[in-house]
Subunit: 155 residues, 2 copies
């Protein structure tokens, strides 16, 4: 897709007749499907904006930047930054890491605080349920919570 | 202060008898007074945490880190990140810059959004006052606003 073909050009023109909002949604779908770092909300390498523009010449660079900005402010992405650690490029390879400043800002971000409070509340509710001995219901919640934790760990 | 003298050691011991909270306040005062990048809330170079620990051996590294984390989440610092541009080290020299991701997160941060909304409100109130022809009061507000803007520009 990096070389402009007649079919590629026709596709690009067709895409550009859609509204900006629709194009942005489409680009987001495409990116979340194609790239593991986005699907799993891993910290993104610096310069990944340019990598995306190069990898996806069929899309408007301004709209790719919009998708990226939307992604970065999602609570799940902020939570990943709050955990810190390595950053990853489009090929899922290590590239740089989350700085102490970025981690501090993400940890104090209201969206992250809210998510952590909700998590603590769910945990407390689960423990209360277990204490009350409603075993069947508790097991149900257990399974769900573990799946969620696994997903969070992978992200 | 980098070499440990008898007086330095005595001072350090005296400081360590203070509560963590008092020590943190004292370190913050010291840092805001001594370093222009902090006083003016400029974007800070990566690794400035280590530079501070080296420059201030009389203080507990854990508490220096706490001061730094508090600084980074202040709305005025987030506003500086939202503007983007160069980062600065302790000697006020360029070192790296604010990434697109950092800028996007800062721009969407609730504290920044709130500050911008308050700013817009003040501006609208000022314009309304000018329209109503209450000249004396309007001039008063003008002067105050300009001082504020100047401070913001320098930051």
């Amino acid at each position: 897709m990096t070389k402009e073909t007649a079919l590629g050009a026709a596709l690009k023109t067709a895409v550009q007749t859609m509204s900006k909002k629709k194009q942005t949604d489409m680009i987001a779908d495409y990116i979340y499907n194609k790239y593991d770092v986005f699907k799993r909300f891993k910290p993104l390498a610096l310069g990944i904006d340019q990598d995306l523009v190069t990898a996806l010449p069929q899309f408007d660079p301004a709209l790719i930047a919009r998708v990226l900005a939307n992604h970065c402010r999602r609570p799940r992405y902020l939570k990943a930054l709050a955990r810190g650690g390595k950053r990853f490029d489009l090929n899922n390879r290590f590239k740089g890491e989350v700085s102490a400043e970025e981690q501090a800002i993400a940890q104090q971000h209201p969206a992250v605080q809210q998510a952590l409070a909700a998590q603590a509340e769910r945990k407390a509710a689960k423990e209360k349920q277990v204490e009350q001995g409603s075993d069947a219901a508790a097991t149900d919640v257990d399974v769900k919570d573990e799946t969620e934790n696994k997903a969070a760990d992978q992200a």
